[in-house]
């Protein structure tokens, strides 16, 4: 046939080699396609991000600083999937498939196998820098390193690496499974290629909206929502209304899914306070100073859903009691 490309006839020779070669060609043509993602940190955000990535069909390598934390994280993911089955969102077979895609690993070294690594540990600059230095050392320079930080400086994190052009911010919003918007943060040295690959990944693979933001503490979402929660705590402290009523007013009045206090309980009060403190330090403005109410509760270990009690009480499934 005149239409057949001459090299079509080569297919018959050496199948193994052809497959290898075509794999290579594809990577060349469309740039890096992200199929395997590492998640560092199996806390609230790490769990949600891993679950969401596996649901979208990606292979996930999950790690945490201790086996205990890692196992706890995996249990939480399983529980969350069970909850989805109860809500008819998933079938048991789908749950098995999703869990099968999440592989717990013991060290950062194993992340070298991924196309991208997302760091989701607590908002502590020094800890995060350590993780990035280590990831930078073990991961080849074409592996994208992303941080889920909401308040810390991307440029500073990237500064801890030898290849800052592959470092980017990827701020998912809790619960990552349901919220279809992600902030993409460009550090000073983030390359266009890194940004484009990640944007395509977010929009085409994860089917989420990517919002491009420039580096600034709290970006858009955390800055606005933390102030919202903080001001609600001030209202409570002034005795203007009860927590229940403040939540109800905002929920019904402005079509929020949860009011500010339940929101804070679900994020984790410690995370909210940490974000506020970071913004307070960076901007130096009083409005970011964490409310005494929030700080007191954190000191008392009343962190919200994850401890069973915050402004409200929750059962093991995270439902309001």
């Amino acid at each position: 046939m005149e239409g057949v490309r001459p090299d079509a006839f080569f297919f018959v020779i050496g199948i193994g080699i052809m497959v290898e070669k075509s794999h290579y060609q594809i990577k060349q043509v469309i740039g890096l396609t992200i199929r395997k993602v590492g998640v560092v940190g199996a806390g609230t955000m790490g769990q949600g991000i891993s679950e969401m990535l596996a649901f979208k069909g990606l292979d996930v390598l999950l790690t945490d600083r201790s086996e205990q934390h890692l196992n706890h994280g995996l249990r939480q993911i399983e529980q969350s999937l069970d909850k989805q089955i109860e809500k008819w969102a998933l079938t048991k077979a789908e749950k098995k498939l999703i869990l099968g895609r999440i592989r717990p690993v013991g060290s950062l070294e194993e992340m070298a196998d991924c196309d991208m690594v997302i760091e989701t540990i607590s908002e502590d600059l020094n800890l995060k820098k350590q993780v990035f230095t280590e990831l930078d050392r073990v991961c080849g320079p074409d592996i994208i390193l992303a941080s889920n930080t909401s308040t810390l400086s991307l440029t500073e994190l990237a500064g801890a690496t030898a290849y800052p052009e592959r470092v980017i911010g990827l701020h998912f919003i809790y619960p990552a499974f349901k919220v279809d918007v992600v902030e993409l943060i460009r550090g000073l040295k983030t390359s266009d290629e890194t940004f484009e690959t990640v944007r395509r990944f977010v929009e085409n693979t994860l089917n989420k909206q990517g919002i491009m933001v420039y580096e600034s503490p709290g970006f858009v979402t955390s800055r606005l929502i933390c102030l919202f929660i903080n001001e609600a705590a001030n209202l409570l402290q002034e005795g203007v209304a009860t927590a229940e009523d403040i939540d109800r007013a905002m929920r019904i009045g402005y079509s929020f899914k949860h009011g500010p206090f339940e929101m804070a309980d679900r994020f984790g009060l410690d995370s909210v306070v940490a974000a506020l403190e970071q913004m307070f330090r960076e901007y130096g403005e009083l409005k970011y100073r964490p409310s005494v109410v929030l700080k007191k509760m954190v000191r008392a270990g009343q962190l919200g859903v994850k401890t069973g009690e915050g402004f409200f009480k929750y059962d093991e499934d995270g439902d309001r009691i």
Binding site: M1, V4, F11, V12, S22, I26, G57, W88, L90, T91
Partner: protein
């Protein structure tokens, strides 16, 4: 003249290579788990041993290349060169209102298939990936597309419109489309052939009941109504799909159970139907087995399934003001004598008389299961959608060739 038929899913490709001289299948197979390092390729030549391998296949382009490799393979192959393949035919789920018949692929057609992504978000993108994958592997290979919806494009307005604001039809093309069209078409033609009467004078109801299930009223060879609608959720009760329910159930459940759109969609598509009623399975074989062991929920699921199917047959007989032929096809239709019996038993008023022995007989061939004196002929016709795709592709390519060769048409 050989035609390759491809059915591309989001992570799989099924294929058959047809020899159109005698419409025989030279080889068939599938690639599963595309996009992973452990994709599975199964290749079965008509003669000789099959192949099954696991390897990394990261996209449809590589998958198609793998299929071509196998078709040409020294040991397992069935053709000596790609040039022997005349054309490729694809199954596409949604043709919307754009496609009333199969067509050859060009840029315009591809654009139209893309425009229909909204109506079939899971299926049409996969089909387009399949088309592009063939194009990348075999540039200039003629390709045809055969749509699941095309056969039902003959439905009149009063059958395909929903009684909801017309603005929704104008803005979003919300209407009934119907699915399994290729199957309904194939079994209706085959049934008319078996009966030995022109299809133009027959009133037929075809029941495609498998994993998905739909029922079509075919008058004079044309679909005049079908049970699936905008999506394959409407109509008959299925393995895990609800079929018809009061639409008000949806917002009601969403508010009572605080469900999201995704959750309620999944509930109706994956957690309903026979699975929901039996409590253990959406598979008719398991339902019948449990029913015979005395499981009451299985019996209820079975009864509901047959009852709802019988109601559709009755409704379509009314829609056509009569019925000459009733056809069963697809997994359940071809294999479950229980279901056929339960449905037909309540249709004696229409003139359906089942031949019990014929109904019980297992066979892979098209066959009558009605008594000789039954006014309505009842048949089991194994479906063969791939053959229709191969035939349509063959016809379109031959027509184009003929037109291209003729000096008259060249001037047009």
């Amino acid at each position: 003249m050989k035609i390759l038929v491809i059915n591309a899913g989001s992570s799989s490709i099924k294929y058959q290579l047809y020899n159109m001289k005698d419409e025989s299948v030279l080889a068939s197979g599938r690639v599963e788990r595309i996009g992973t390092e452990s994709a599975i390729v199964t290749h079965e030549p008509a003669a000789g041993p099959g192949v099954r391998e696991v390897s990394g296949i990261l996209d449809h382009v590589t998958a198609v290349r793998r299929v071509l490799d196998l078709l040409l393979h020294r040991e397992h192959g069935v053709v000596a060169s790609i040039a022997e393949i005349e054309a490729v035919g694809h199954r596409v789920v949604h043709g919307g209102e754009t496609f009333k018949a199969s067509v050859l692929v060009d840029d315009e057609v591809k654009r139209s298939i893309r425009d229909l992504f909204d109506l079939a978000p899971l299926h049409n993108p996969a089909a387009l990936m399949g088309i592009n994958a063939v194009e990348q592997n075999m540039p200039n290979m003629p390709q045809a597309v055969v749509f699941d919806t095309a056969f039902h494009q003959t439905m009149p307005r009063h059958a395909y419109l929903y009684p909801i604001p017309m603005a929704l039809y104008r803005r979003h093309k919300i209407r009934r489309y119907g699915f399994h069209g290729t199957s309904h078409f194939y079994v209706s033609e085959r049934a008319a052939e078996m009966i030995g009467r022109p299809i133009a004078e027959l009133k037929m109801i075809t029941c495609h009941i498998g994993n998905g299930a739909s029922c079509t009223a075919i008058q004079g060879g044309k679909s005049i109504d079908t049970s699936m609608g905008l999506t394959p959720l409407e109509g008959l009760m299925m393995g895990t799909r609800s079929g018809d329910i009061d639409p008000a159930v949806v917002p009601f459940v969403m508010s009572k159970e605080e469900l999201t759109l995704g959750e309620v969609n999944s509930m109706l598509n994956k957690h309903s139907g026979m699975l929901a009623i039996s409590g253990f399975s959406g598979d008719m074989r398991e339902i019948v087995e449990a029913m015979e062991d005395g499981d009451r929920n299985a019996k209820l699921a079975f009864d509901m399934f047959c009852y709802r199917l019988r109601k559709y047959v009755g409704a379509y007989a009314a829609a056509m003001n009569g019925l000459d032929v009733l056809v069963f096809t697809a997994g359940i239709g071809e294999n479950s004598a229980h279901v056929r019996k339960a449905v037909c038993e309540g249709l004696t008023f229409l003139g359906v008389q089942l031949d019990e022995t014929a109904n019980q007989r297992h066979s892979k061939d098209a066959r009558f299961i009605s008594a000789p004196d039954s006014r309505v002929k009842v048949l089991v016709v194994p479906t063969n959608e791939e053959l229709i795709i191969a035939r349509d592709t063959f016809r379109l390519v031959s027509e184009r060739k003929a037109a291209g060769d003729s000096p008259v048409s060249r001037g047009q």
